[in-house]
Amino acid sequence: MITLSKLNKTYGSQRVVNEASMAFEQGKITAIIGPNGAGKSTLLSMASRLTKLDDGAIRIANVALQDWDNAELAKTLSVLRQANNVNMRFSVRELVAFGRFPHSQGRLTPEDENKIDDALAKLDLTLLQHKYLDQLSGGQRQMAFIAMVVAQDTEYVFLDEPLNNLDIKHSVEIMQVLRRLAHDFGKAVVIVIHDINFAASYADNLVAMKQGKVVCQGSVAEVLTEQQMSQIYDIPFAIHDIGDKKVCVYFG
């Protein structure tokens, strides 16, 4: 379990995260949603130690974040942000092998090789493993970075907009992999995501943010109401039940 209590972050005079508190549970996918500039990515960065917090407290597996050793934390928590330098020429397999670094410090054991094979297979990259990253499409490249996080095999997985710029097929495949990580392997998966319908279909819990504050959080059914969604996004929402899924219609 990761608990965030009353996190604050100010850039210049602007408060981007304001007294945000939440918890991420194992075995669940938690999606952080909200309009642009709501502070979602900053919150995710703080929770995964990439950005320093101004004040508040973060506890990971009951240990305060500042008491974690960075190298040790890399075996427990992985985070993938956007804007990675993809100009460097690594093969897919070399990239995925980086995920094992925290465990083996670069000297891959047979167990590491197995986990790499496994991660490649999970994201359907086995046939592409010897291609260079700059030879792949955007979707395949994103799959490769996610495969790296899968190979890192941590209890907590943070992903910042994993579906950005991806087509529907890649998006669905990635969400299915994340759901398996949470439900079958008991990991806590936390994603920042813009597509509410993807969040509604695959996430277990939602956290809705606006202007740095947490507006509401809870199960998908609790958060996804027409009134709350309209308030968060400032446009009218209609929410329909189709099959066992909730689908938001917000096209005016």
Binding site: R49, L50, N70, A71, M88, F90, F98, Q152
Partner: protein, 322 residues
């Protein structure tokens, strides 16, 4: 692949051996295998005092500078970074000039210290500056680096004018292996441990080349590794500048050409980068000795011509692919 690794390795060794022999036996004073075989004292003296030191200096400087360029490219995440495009070399020259003025002692290590500290401080300043840049345009980084280098270089020249050292500085900065003799190049051997340290941390450097967040996620100390990289680059550049002079482009073109063929996995390409650095410097040095035999053209000129052309090609190629 048509080349098996074993074939490539044997071919590489044969080529290196051939170039090394050419380097040993080409020169103003004649040296024949026969004389050495017969134990001719003069022949042996030429070999041990001049030719072997020269060969070793070429090998060490070529390998060292190429590896330094490779590390630099990884820590600033830019293909066009190298000791000569990030101001490292210019700062080293500044350190050399400062050393000539302010250090009265002849002790080599004192002068090395001055060159090394200047190179390191100057490079750290530029690297920190680049880290704060919002737009990391591929060509912008070396442009800033070259401008920065020119400013530093202007300071060195100004100081040199003031103390009447312009001529010394000019002769000395133009790389030339002809002046390498037994007794004045041995410090270059320090490039060997520097390269081994770089090899030991190869995977870490590879990881930081992807980005700060990427490295932090893997539990690495990003800023610490950047500093370590800068120290290694500055040390190698300082050693080369002190014993040989300024060899431009080598740290730029060798890693780029190797990465083009073999990718960016540092652990795999570092030994090859060192190898091709040696081959290129050896080749240029031999050419420089042949063109107007028995006189010599300094290696800096030969390598500038080849390196400049290759650099422009790489930029154009990058534009087409980017």
């Amino acid at each position: 692949m048509a080349f098996t690794p074993r074939f490539a390795a044997s071919f590489a060794l044969v080529m290196l051996a051939f170039l090394a022999c050419s380097s040993l036996f080409i020169g103003a004073s004649e040296l024949s295998l026969h004389a050495i075989w017969q134990g001719n004292e003069q022949a042996w003296q030429i070999l041990t005092v001049s030719r072997i030191p020269r060969l070793l200096a070429i090998v060490l400087a070529g390998a060292g500078l190429s590896v330094a360029g490779l590390i630099m490219q990884q820590i600033v995440q830019n293909r066009f970074a190298s000791p000569s495009t990030t101001g490292t070399i210019d700062c080293a020259v500044l350190g050399y000039v400062a050393g000539m003025i302010f250090i009265s002692s002849d002790a080599l290590w004192l002068h090395f210290g001055s060159i090394f500290l200047c190179a390191m401080a100057g490079t750290l300043i530029l690297v920190r500056f680049i880290q704060h840049l919002q737009f990391k345009n591929a060509v912008l980084v070396p442009l800033i680096g070259i401008m920065y280098g020119n400013v530093i270089s202007a300071i060195s020249t100004f100081i040199a004018y003031k103390y009447d050292l312009v001529q010394t500085m000019a002769t000395w900065t133009l790389a030339n292996f002809a002046s390498v003799l037994q007794g004045n190049y041995e410090m270059l051997f320090l490039a060997i441990p520097a390269c081994f340290i770089a090899y030991y941390f190869a995977r870490q450097f590879s990881a930081i080349s992807v980005g700060k967040h990427f490295a932090t996620n893997l539990g690495l100390n990003y800023q610490g590794l950047v500093t370590l990289g800068v120290i290694l680059v500055a040390a190698i550049a300082a050693l080369a500048v002190m014993t040989v002079g300024v060899i431009p482009f080598i740290g730029l073109i060798v890693p780029n050409v190797v990465a083009l063929i073999m990718g960016d996995n540092l652990k795999r390409i570092l030994p090859w980068t060192a190898y091709w650095g040696v081959v290129l410097v050896l080749l240029c040095d031999v050419i420089g000795r042949i063109i107007i035999f028995p006189y010599e053209i300094p290696i800096a000129m030969i390598i500038s011509i080849i390196g400049g052309a290759l650099f422009i090609y790489l930029i154009l190629r990058d534009k087409r692919h980017g």
